[in-house]
Every structure is written in structure tokens, then in C-alpha cells.
Assembly symmetry: C2
Homo-oligomer: 336 residues x 2
């Protein structure tokens, strides 16, 4: 089982408008509603890859209730005649044969109302304007309940991903605390956040971080990928997988340095591409894949997410087509 933690879950609303004009009134022509927050997005991709996933974090109020309903709808029904079908696929299994695996809701209920995020998609330009509510104020008791739930879940987890922003009321060192618990429990931990929570979290020595260029620059002060990635490792992360956006990923790990690139830059919506990459890295880790194979999967998933017409979903046919075509370049040991 892979565990994902989303402290600031969200009900993600997407509004299509013919054209976004500031200070005007708009009739929303299409809308969709789905459970969100980075860890929930990661879980959705892991499920599609055939990995059983448990999601924890906080949910509350009327918005939290809708989120949990939609999350339950998302999880495939456990097939009665084929209980083995929901286990992780064999490393060599063709991805096409993979049946979606269940996503278990282990969210902690809070008194506050789960936030909404609104993506306003301008149908003329294709651009998205994002409005994010701050999230509920989480109390000390609710945080203690999450810590208890997390410790229990770690006992059965093969890996854990800690994802996204912190809701109001949660101390900035929260991820550092969760990283330390995972390391104590011997569970590989990936941290995907930004700003001060990332800085503090790295000092607790997570196995992996997956920053993008902005997050890395904010952390290290450098926009030069190799320099910034090495600096991030020196700050405590065992492995740093830096997203290079449409150019792929740079992985600086204890086992070597690799650069992975999609066969070509693709047009589309990058929303959720980072979450798909996290799912690729974690599933590869749990399946015991080599670094090049994990990176291939992460880059193919993330590119197939950009290509998908629905933001945050990945295009499975594109994923399978891209997987063998991701270019991997190993940097010579001297370059380390």
C-alpha cells in the first residue's frame, strides 16, 4: 500500500467561460467538480497504475463531505471474483493490463470547511486563472488526531508521499515531523511542498523531494538546475528529482545522476503533471524499478497528463506510447 498525505485537501472546481474579462459578469458554460489537493491527485494516478493507495489528511464541513463522496465514487469496486487483481502489478507487467486499484479514505474529519479551488478556463485563449480558498483552521487536537492516524497507517505502508500546502493552524515544521516519523518507521518518504514547509521538511532528511524550478530557486537561490539540485541535496534530501517542466527531469540521487526527457515538448495543460510524476516515482520505487525506469515512468506520466484533455488526468494511450521513448542520459561519475 502507498500512503499519500494531503493536509489541505480541496474540492477542485473547473469553470469554463467563453472569455474571462475582469470586472464583468460571466455565465459559466461548463463546470466540473472533483476531489483535489496534490496527495489526492497522486492517489488517483497510483490507482490507475494498479497500486492500492490510502489517503489521509483533513476534510470537514459541507465541502469536505462532497469531496469524500466524490473520492468514494472514484475508487473502483473491489472485484469479488478476482481479489488478486487489485494488488500491485508485477514489475514487468504491461501497463495496459493494469486494473485500477482501490483508494481508501482515511481522512481525519475536522470542524472547519474544506477549501474550494476554482480554475477558470478561458475558452478563447485556453489560459487558466486560479482562485484558491485558504482552507479550514485546523486545531491542535485535530493535528494530534492526524499524527495518530498517520502512525497507524505507516505500519502498513510501502512508501508515503507528503503533498501540498499547509492549512491555517498547522505549524510550519509539520512536514519535518511527518518525515521523521516515516524515517523512524522505515518507510520511504517523498516530500512535495514549497516555501518554508519544504525548507524545514528537507532538514528532516526525506528520501525524495520533487521540486519544480520555482520551488528550487526559492529554496536555494539558484535557477541553474544542477547547482540548485545539488544544493537541495546538501540541505538534507537524499534524492532530488527536479522538474525541468516540458524538458523532463533531473535526478540527483545517492546512486547517480540522470536526466530524463520526453521525445518532444508537448502542448497542453500542465496542471497535475507534477502529481503524476510523484505517482510515477513512488510506484517505481515500490516496484523496485531502477532509477532510469522510474524516471521514464515519471516523465511519460507527466507528459501524458499535459496531453490529457481533462486537467490532472493522464492519457493512458499517450503514456504507453511515450514510455519507451523517454530519453535517459546518465551523467558521468566525475560530473557528480
Amino acid at each position: 500500500m502507498i500512503l499519500t498525505v494531503t493536509l489541505n485537501t480541496a474540492l477542485d472546481l473547473t469553470y469554463g467561460v467563453p472569455e474571462l474579462v475582469p470586472h464583468a459578469s460571466h455565465r459559466v458554460s461548463e463546470m466540473s467538480e472533483r476531489p483535489g489537493g496534490k496527495g489526492l491527485n497522486v492517489a488517483r494516478v497510483l490507482s490507475a497504475l494498479g497500486h492500492r493507495t490510502v489517503v489521509t489528511g483533513f476534510a470537514g464541513g459541507a465541502t469536505g463531505a462532497v469531496l469524500r463522496e466524490l473520492l468514494a465514487d472514484l475508487s473502483p469496486q473491489e472485484p469479488a471474483d478476482d481479489p488478486g487483481g487489485t494488488d500491485a502489478p508485477e514489475p514487468g507487467a504491461a501497463p495496459a493490463a493494469t486494473a485500477p486499484a482501490p483508494i481508501t479514505d482515511a481522512l481525519v474529519t475536522v470542524a472547519g470547511n474544506t477549501r474550494r479551488t476554482i480554475a477558470v478556463v478561458d475558452r478563447t485563449t485556453g489560459d487558466t486563472t486560479q482562485l484558491n480558498e485558504p482552507g479550514p483552521l485546523v486545531t491542535a487536537d485535530e493535528w494530534a488526531a492526524l499524527l495518530g492516524r498517520y502512525e497507524e497507517l505507516l505500519a502498513g505502508a510501502d512508501a508515503v508521499a507528503l503533498c501540498g500546502s499547509l492549512p491555517p493552524g498547522i505549524h510550519v515544521g509539520a512536514y519535518a515531523e511527518l518525515v521523521r516519523s516515516a524515517r523512524t518507521a522505515g518507510v520511504p518518504v517523498l516530500l512535495d511542498t514549497s516555501g518554508e514547509p519544504l525548507r524545514r521538511g528537507i532538514a528532516a532528511r526525506p528520501d525524495l523531494i520533487k521540486p519544480n524550478a520555482d520551488e528550487l530557486a526559492q529554496l536555494t537561490g539558484s535557477r541553474e538546475p544542477m547547482r540548485a539540485t545539488r544544493d537541495a541535496r546538501r540541505r538534507g534530501a537524499h534524492g532530488v528529482i527536479a522538474s525541468l517542466g516540458p524538458d523532463g527531469m533531473l535526478a540527483v540521487t545517492p546512486d547517480g545522476i540522470w536526466q530524463a526527457a520526453p521525445p518532444a515538448r508537448v502542448p497542453g495543460n500542465p496542471t497535475g503533471a507534477g502529481d503524476s510524476a510523484v505517482a510515477g516515482l513512488l510506484s517505481g520505487l515500490v516496484e523496485g524499478l531502477s532509477w532510469p525506469d522510474r524516471l521514464r515512468r515519471a516523465v511519460a506520466l507527466s507528459t501524458a497528463t499535459v496531453l490529457s484533455p481533462t486537467a490532472g488526468d493522464f492519457d493512458r494511450a499517450a503514456y504507453e506510447e511515450l514510455l519507451p521513448r523517454v530519453g535517459i542520459e546518465e551523467h558521468a561519475p566525475a560530473a557528480r
Copy 2:
């Protein structure tokens, strides 16, 4: 009791952002949530004026449930020791002495999800960008249930206001049907909508319509207030109260023609000013006020709504101060 009908109720969200930048990501710094749709706004003002109000229309899904909870919170508790306190005030009663009256929820539950509307307020410019979901698809059975409920409620109503847009699935002649029922029941009916539903509704001869300049121009093709207002009367409305925006109102009625103007143009947010005007007109009608007094109240309420820091609420002190200062000019009979 005054009845208000809101076929497309809404959960109104207001998001404050430091500055709205298209295609950027925004953290919402303040947010509020309240029950909306024009008829619910009218009911809130009527309640504040001491008029018992019943609201009907449609509500459904998770958003509808939140709306109904907030609506229940809005209604004052019936005072146990003063049951007479919730009746309509005597015509001469000072507005300051008025206790809020209850708002009764007689909404019809539908399977679809009540819409949200989002007002994004740019804190730099003060301007508002509006995003309106379309609303639930209402079925023929749900519409029949509304008609039944409406007929029952008309039996106890002193006046009825039909307010706002139609949700998907409701036929464009719906308001005409509701106007005819009210007239058959002998209940004075005010229609406040726009476009084709207004055009059709007028033909059923409502007692009053309250269009703004855009709605009137769309209906009649004219932006000259006197000409457009008279044209609207010829189309079937017994009385037409045209909003002149910050300049007040023009009333063309079977009893005469009046123009009412606030003492000065005021800065502020016009959201809800039209709904406050409807509440002023209807409460004045039920209390048997003269046309000049009804118009004074409508203009004072609507100006006090523009002045209120909370969109859609009216500033009571400003209302009381403005009421005696609204200018009324009667047009000579020759001008009719």
C-alpha cells in the same frame, strides 16, 4: 405574508483577492458565503423591514443544503413573549422600531445541485468579477411540484415577487404562468427578470415590473427612459418602475408618473440594490403606502444598499437618514 419566488437560488460566495490578474494563481484572502438569488435577497430586506416572508423556488444537492442551513440561520427566532412583534409594522411606524420578521423556507427540493455564484472582489480597484454557475437541470415533475407549492402559498400571500433567472429545464414562459396564477388568486405580483422570460411574463399582465436600463433597452429597443417605460406598459405591465441607477427611479403607473431621486449620487457596490428596491416597493404596497412613499422607500433602501460595506445588505442608519430626503417629482398628467 409576502411570498418571494426564486427559481434559480444560489449559494453566493464572495472572494477577496489583493488584485485579480487573469491567468495567474490567487490566494483568496477573505471569503464569505450566503444564501442568494434575487428572491432570497428581497426576503432578507423584507425581514429587516419587519415583514414576514416565505421563500419558494428550488434547492438541491450539497450546495442547496448549505443554502438552506444559512437561510435558517438568517431568520430571527420567533420571540416567545411577543408573537405580535413579527407582524408587518403599522404604516406610520418608525423604521428604527422594526424587529426583523421570520423568513420561512418553502423551497422545493430538486435532485440537481443548486448553483454557486462567485464574486471576486479586487481589493486594489474595488471592482467585482462575477462567475455564475448555470444551476441544476429542473425536471417536469419538479416544476409541477413547484406549481403546487406556489398555488398553496398564494392563498396566504399579500403580495408576491417573482425574481431572477430561470434554471435549465424550465420553459421560457414559466414566469407568465406564475403571473397568471397570482392574478387569478388576486395577489399583487411583481416580476423582476430579464430577456425572453421578462418579455413573455409581461404579456401575462403583472402588476409591476422593475427593469433596469439594460433590461428595458433589451425589451423595448429604447434607452430613453420615458419612452421605454411607456412601451413596457403597453406590452402588458400595469406599472413599470424603471431603475435609473444612481439617479433613482421612474415610475409609470395607472395612478400617475413619478420620478424619485436620492439626495446625491453615492459611491459603493450596487450589488443587491435592485433587490432592495423590490423589497421597498412590495412592503410599501402591502402597507398601503402612496406611490410617492413607496418610491421614497425603494430609492432610500437601494441607495443604502450601495452604501453598505457588505454587498447586498443595506445600511439601516443611512436608510433612515435618506428616507425623508428622497426627491419626488410628479409628472403633469399631460406628460402621461
